[in-house]
Symmetry: C2
Subunit: 375 residues, 2 copies
């Protein structure tokens, strides 16, 4: 195998059922990657993450380069060993977090200089350094360094930024060390402007990548703009390569994006909103802090087989979250990550059966039922 | 079975190897009870607690009466079901925490009135209410309400407080509802004064309890005073009933107290100090935050079989704790509770082999070796 393998197993409309093959094993697609920012999916052991059915996780280059440092992770045998995740790992390039977290950012053709949000240390991220860091981390899927533009943005600045990201993509490709089972993804930019997205996609396909991501969305442009852009962009990408919509989303956004031909997703929503008390269920999200759960002996989701639902009542988890007990964060995160993996399993099965449209209708109807009535 | 069963299986000097039998199963003694303050051993699932070998856990009446409330726990089927702990549970009486946590305490013959540290609500705890709450929680082992005196304290006030606690003990006995497999423990008070301890023990034995606890120690009196008092008090207690030294302690304090005839322990040290970065090992405690662990690929304790030690390096846990990741708290707590249960297993085995004195010497020598050298 050279680079990453990607097998297209079935389709249902534009929805695709595939399999990503990496140096550390395979991941069935459409896949949702739990986010392991600082080499841990927050509040979960790696065993717990595996138990949900997740096959590939995401690590954040920005966080890991600052702490514990890419060189240290490399000396310790790479990210897989470090965090007990022998399966596939995708790392982002650090560009997005530099823009959202670091201080005193200074971006130019060379790259981006910034101060660490942890200790104020001066750091630099260039396309070449982003490749170097991700190689040291031993990421199966490496992402090119790009600039994720904010919203709103005019077409002019969006074009300038996108074109620089494309030049960076070329430098990333040149710097990326090819190894069997390891691959590099390009990232389409261009905000909501179709002609910019087309130009970006064309540039990336010309360079040639193992997969293609759609970046720069879910930054405030609204759901219609987002899905329209995904639809247009996905149609410009090679059918035989995986497509990754970065940083989304809510269950309904994932369901809608799969219908547009997306294969991979990542998002902090299941873990982050779990920590604030939001639980996803087959009847829509609930807030476990709500007083109506205080004496409810039923699980968060009676159709869920996660340990939180198999073992504990809403009343107990309500109590834990109200009391700010760590176990509350643990159980909420576990349930939500499990819910997302259940969703992906259902999505994959419905594509295999060429019934994705019916699945979408059923999903929407189920979510609209609303939470089970209080006891 | 009426009340609690206690079988003495072996002795080694004054050290005792026994078995406590309750309505929810047995616990081998000497036993260490992880503290599940608010119906959770902090940062651990009940499964994780079980995996350490713990057979009995402690719940705090004070915390549970305030949130979620004893009546609510009762309506939800009791504490065992609520927190997924089908095994034996001991609850304290709430007296200690009222004194250390609540506001505007007002104590008299009737009981203690206070304001909740959570919402300022006015509450009252009397001997009768303490029995009522623990019955509703469905505790296998109920503790009498007592006053844990602070340190330093003169003999006069210590005597007054102890005598009131003895009158409360009598009221607790009268209010306690006898059920097979459920039992009530008295608590010896009297600070460091031998004549007061003797008077207290005599009073309790006259009332008659299923077990006897030693309270009012480890409050600042120092290790010598503490162990001298335990030695004297234990010698006054019935040999056929379990003895529980409340609220300690560090591994060396447990080892020393077992030699004085103590059967049961509880302490927040393994979980609380785990959350601050202290890990217990067979070569003494280490602070995982220390920079020398930053690249150490070895486990916290190479002789430990807990999931943290089997799976993760010191370097990884160091990183997690430094980065304030929840998984760091989870793994440190898991390891420490596992270490304590390993210690209790070793203690029990050495008593069975009538080799407790040799065990104590070996334990002290091992702890004195100091941490393994850095790689």
């Amino acid at each position: 195998m050279t680079g990453l393998g990607f097998q297209l197993l079935a389709t249902s409309g534009a929805a695709r059922r595939g399999r990503l093959s990496t140096a550390h094993g395979t991941a069935e697609t459409p896949a949702f990657m739990p986010v392991g920012t600082a080499a841990t999916v927050k509040a979960m052991t790696a065993d717990a993450v595996r138990s949900t059915g997740a096959e590939i996780v995401l690590g954040n280059t920005y966080h890991l380069m600052l702490r514990p440092g890419a060189e240290r992770v490399e000396r310790l045998g790479g990210l897989h060993k470090f965090m007990d995740w022998p399966g596939p790992i995708l790392t982002d390039s650090g560009g997005f977090q530099v823009m959202s977290l670091a201080q005193l950012r200074d971006i130019d053709e060379r790259g981006v200089r910034f101060q660490s949000h942890i200790d104020g240390a001066k750091e630099e991220l260039t396309p070449e350094r982003a490749m170097d860091i991700q190689r040291r981390l031993d990421a199966d899927v490496t992402m090119v360094l790009d600039e994720c533009t904010s919203w709103p943005i005019e077409a002019g600045p969006a074009a300038e930024s996108m074109r620089r990201s494309m030049r960076w993509a070329e430098r990333c490709k040149a710097a990326f060390v090819k190894r069997p089972g390891y691959g590099l993804f390009g990232i389409v930019q261009g905000s909501v402007y179709p002609e910019l997205r087309a130009e970006s996609a064309e540039a990336l396909v010309k360079i040639g990548f193992d997969g293609y991501a759609i970046g720069g969305l879910a930054v405030g442009e609204g759901r219609d703009h987002m899905l329209t852009t995904v639809r247009q962009t996905a149609s410009l990408l090679p059918a035989d390569r995986p497509r990754y919509f970065m940083g989304i989303g809510r269950p309904e956004d994932i369901v809608a994006s799969v219908a547009l031909g997306i294969d991979m997703f990542d998002c902090v929503i299941p873990t982050r909103s779990g920590r604030t008390g939001q639980a996803f269920t087959r009847r829509g999200p609930i807030n476990i802090r709500n007083a109506r759960h205080a004496e409810d002996p039923r699980p968060i989701d009676q159709d869920c087989a996660c340990p939180a639902c198999r073992t504990y009542s809403r009343a107990y988890i309500h109590h834990l979250v109200r009391a700010e007990e760590i176990l509350g964060l643990m159980l909420m995160s576990w349930h939500n990550v499990h819910y997302y993996q259940d969703l992906m399993r259902d999505i994959r099965a419905s594509i295999e059966a060429d019934g994705y449209e019916a699945f979408m209708a059923r999903f929407a109807a189920e979510q609209a039922r609303g939470d089970i009535a209080p006891v």
